[in-house]
């Protein structure tokens, strides 16, 4: 039987090695920087493109992984494997700031750690946060809503989760921007299409059901919620639907298309999903607030490469600026101390396309 064992071992070895040839098992002496995201998404492909570019610029080897699902049990083994490989810096998109605090504190004591996209508590010892201020970005969404419906109207919000730090920040930002001192979440019941709807009033805007609709994530058929909402709002004037996670604006758009309501309602989006950008260029969506994930990846690697070489001057002390993409674009403005760009949708779409192309997407 021993020959069978030998044959099987050799055969398995041969085939496994054949399966793993593409792996860049370069034993390079370059400094290694690890980037671990919170899930798998096209958003993170853009981030990867930026990280790889910065890797070339600063002559470091970038290890980039997108764990499946928003699952800490899948994220942590990757982080551990990166630490074991001797990365000299680590950037993580935190899934649960509170729950992960202990682990992050331990990791920060072993390698220079920064957070990106979703922050952790500063006392974990993370060096800095690379990402936008979600509340400020939410405010930008609020301004787009005001521009779309200057005389007020009915708004409906959609988001994947209200638990995450970015979800809460964004929602709060939108509502803060719309609210006025006398109408900041004032409960109100309106009769819409013969149905009594309990909502909340923020300034001149009536928020349907008084809270955003949460859908639990892109894999849980997010179209159904805007579809139901549009059914309740049929033939109602001055309606604006707001999608706050990357997949929400395309979901709203597809529901509006199926009900032939594109153009009859206003849509405001978040993030740079290619469908969203195309719709902004076509005038079907008023505008979208983008985080520029390419820059997240680039900045994270830039900062960590500098720290690994003993230079802490590149650590960020303030959030990165968001950008507001509209059909016609606009002049760069300074808003609440941040320099905000207003790119034209077609221009931004081309930028994103070339970023996707650089990682073979």
């Amino acid at each position: 039987m021993s020959w069978i064992l030998r044959v099987s071992v050799v055969l398995a070895l041969a085939v496994v090695v054949a399966c793993v040839p593409a792996c860049s098992n370069k034993k390079s002496d370059k400094i290694k920087i690890g980037v671990v995201t919170n899930c798998t998404d096209p958003f993170w492909d853009l981030c990867e493109a930026g990280a790889m570019k910065a890797g070339e610029h600063y002559n470091v080897e970038v290890l980039f992984r997108q764990p499946e699902g928003m699952d800490v049990a899948k994220q942590m083994p990757i982080v551990e494997a990166f630490i074991q490989q001797g990365v000299k810096g680590l950037a993580i998109s935190v899934i649960d700031p509170k729950g992960q605090k202990k682990d992050l504190t331990r990791i920060a004591s072993e390698v220079p750690l920064i957070t990106m996209d979703n922050d952790a508590d500063a006392d974990t010892g993370r060096l800095c946060y690379v990402g936008v201020d979600n509340k400020e970005a939410g405010r930008a969404v609020g301004r787009l809503v005001k521009k779309a419906l200057p005389n007020g109207g009915i708004i409906a919000m959609f988001i994947g989760s209200e638990l995450s730090a970015n979800g809460q920040g964004r929602t709060q930002g939108v509502l803060d921007e719309l609210a006025t001192p006398d109408a900041n979440g004032k409960p109100e019941t309106r009769t819409i299409n013969g149905q009594a709807v309990a909502g909340k009033l923020y300034g001149k805007y009536f928020l349907m059901d008084g809270a955003p609709t949460t859908d639990g994530g892109p894999e849980k058929n997010p179209q159904q919620y805007p579809h139901i909402m549009l059914g309740r709002l049929e033939n109602v004037p001055d309606v604006c639907m707001i999608g706050l996670y990357a997949y929400n604006p395309p979901a709203i758009l597809s529901a509006a298309r199926s009900k032939s309501m594109v153009g009859k309602i206003k849509i405001v989006g978040f993030d740079e999903n290619p469908v969203t950008l195309k719709a902004v260029a076509a005038g079907e969506i008023e505008g979208t607030v983008v985080q520029d994930p390419y820059n997240y990846g680039y900045k994270s690697v830039e900062v960590l490469a500098a720290v690994a070489r003993g230079d802490k001057s590149k650590l960020l002390s303030s959030p990165l600026p968001y950008q507001v993409v509209t059909k016609d674009g606009g002049e760069t403005q300074t808003i609440n101390g941040l320099t905000i760009k207003f790119p034209k949708a077609t221009d931004y779409e081309n930028t994103v396309k070339s970023q996707f192309a650089s990682v073979g997407k």
Binding site: L11, C19, M76, E80, Q84, Q85, G99, K102, T105
Partner: protein
């Protein structure tokens, strides 16, 4: 013996590739870390394997793991002492197994359907009782539980109060459980009943085996082990999300069992094979991380490697049958 040669060969190759990939990969810290994940996978693999031996299947394992993890957290948040919460959570597993077992044996429902429904029900239950739970949250609400939670984490996971891994407790737990289950399987009448039921249910019945009772017992053990897996997941992870915790784990568990020599037709399998089968996936996952594989190729590489392992394994078995 031939049943475990394939998986043993695969493991040796994977470990060789892992250690060759990076000097740090062979460090005791890394091997311990991998062993610990193997322990956690192993507990649910034992669960799946036992059910497979009696000719059944349990697709609810992943959801039961998730639901137990959430329940364990919620119980402690509600003020139940961590040690008592372990007991209650295991009891939940017993109840799940009892329901599965009775539906399958008394109502004669298909195990596939019953446990598939369970998969949805317990995932839903997890989401109903709590969205996100974590040890940090429990300690925030009940600071006096910190010591007990740390003790549990040290004993079952092997992590100290700072979260650093000191020894692979979960792997040790797996070995202990495997010895116990191995003893039952290979040294007692229960094991003989279970193999007999898996081989030929009717023959076992005519031979005087209380098939329904034995099957129910196995489903109870299976779900209880899944609940234990949930407790381990809670203690090992810094945060548990009801949506995703343990999702898909049933398939990994079944995979581990089959790689370890269990036949999906029932009646075959050894305790040592189950342990070896459960060890494959964590090594493979660590290997792809260490080799710096690109995200997009990882699922395909993992799938191909497992397929190759299965083919080699099957070829060995055919050879051994011919030579017998």
């Amino acid at each position: 013996m031939t049943r475990i040669l394939g998986v043993l060969g695969l493991l040796i190759v994977l470990y060789a590739l892992l250690i060759e990939s990076n000097p740090a990969a062979g460090s005791s810290r890394n091997l311990m870390y991998v062993a610990n994940i193997q322990g956690r996978y192993g507990v649910v693999t034992l669960a799946a394997a036992l059910v497979i031996i009696v000719g059944g299947i349990d697709l609810s394992i992943g959801s039961v793991v998730g639901c137990s993890a959430v329940m364990f957290g919620v119980l402690m948040e509600e003020g139940v002492h961590p040690f008592a919460a372990v007991g209650w959570t295991l009891l939940f597993g017993v109840q799940v197994g009892l329901v599965n077992g009775l539906l399958i044996t008394k109502l004669r429902l298909q195990p596939f359907l019953v446990t598939l429904c369970g998969m949805f029900i317990y995932r839903g239950e997890a989401r109903l009782i709590g969205g996100v739970v974590s040890p940090a949250q429990v300690i925030d609400e009940h600071p006096h539980f910190e010591h007990s939670l740390n003790t549990l984490t040290y004993l079952l996971i092997g992590k100290n109060e700072k979260g650093a891994l000191v020894f692979p407790a979960m792997f040790i737990l797996l070995l202990v459980l495997a010895v116990v289950i191995g003893f039952f399987l290979h040294r007692t009448a229960y094991g003989r009943y279970w193999y007999a039921i898996g081989h030929n249910e009717l023959a076992a019945k005519y031979a005087g085996v209380n098939v329904d009772r034995q099957r129910t017992i196995v489903y109870v053990i299976c779900s209880m082990l899944a609940s234990l897996g949930g407790i381990l997941l809670f203690l090992d992870s810094s945060t548990i999300q009801a949506d995703s915790a343990g999702a898909g784990l049933e398939l990994y568990a079944i995979l581990g069992a089959v790689l370890g020599g269990c036949s999906l037709r029932g009646g075959e399998g050894t305790a040592i094979g189950m342990v070896l089968g459960a060890m494959v996936l964590p090594v493979l996952e660590t290997l792809v991380s260490f080799r710096g594989l690109k995200n997009n190729v990882i699922p395909a590489v993992i799938g191909l490697t497992l397929l190759v392992g299965t083919i080699v394994d099957e070829l060995i078995r055919r050879r051994s049958r011919v030579h017998r």
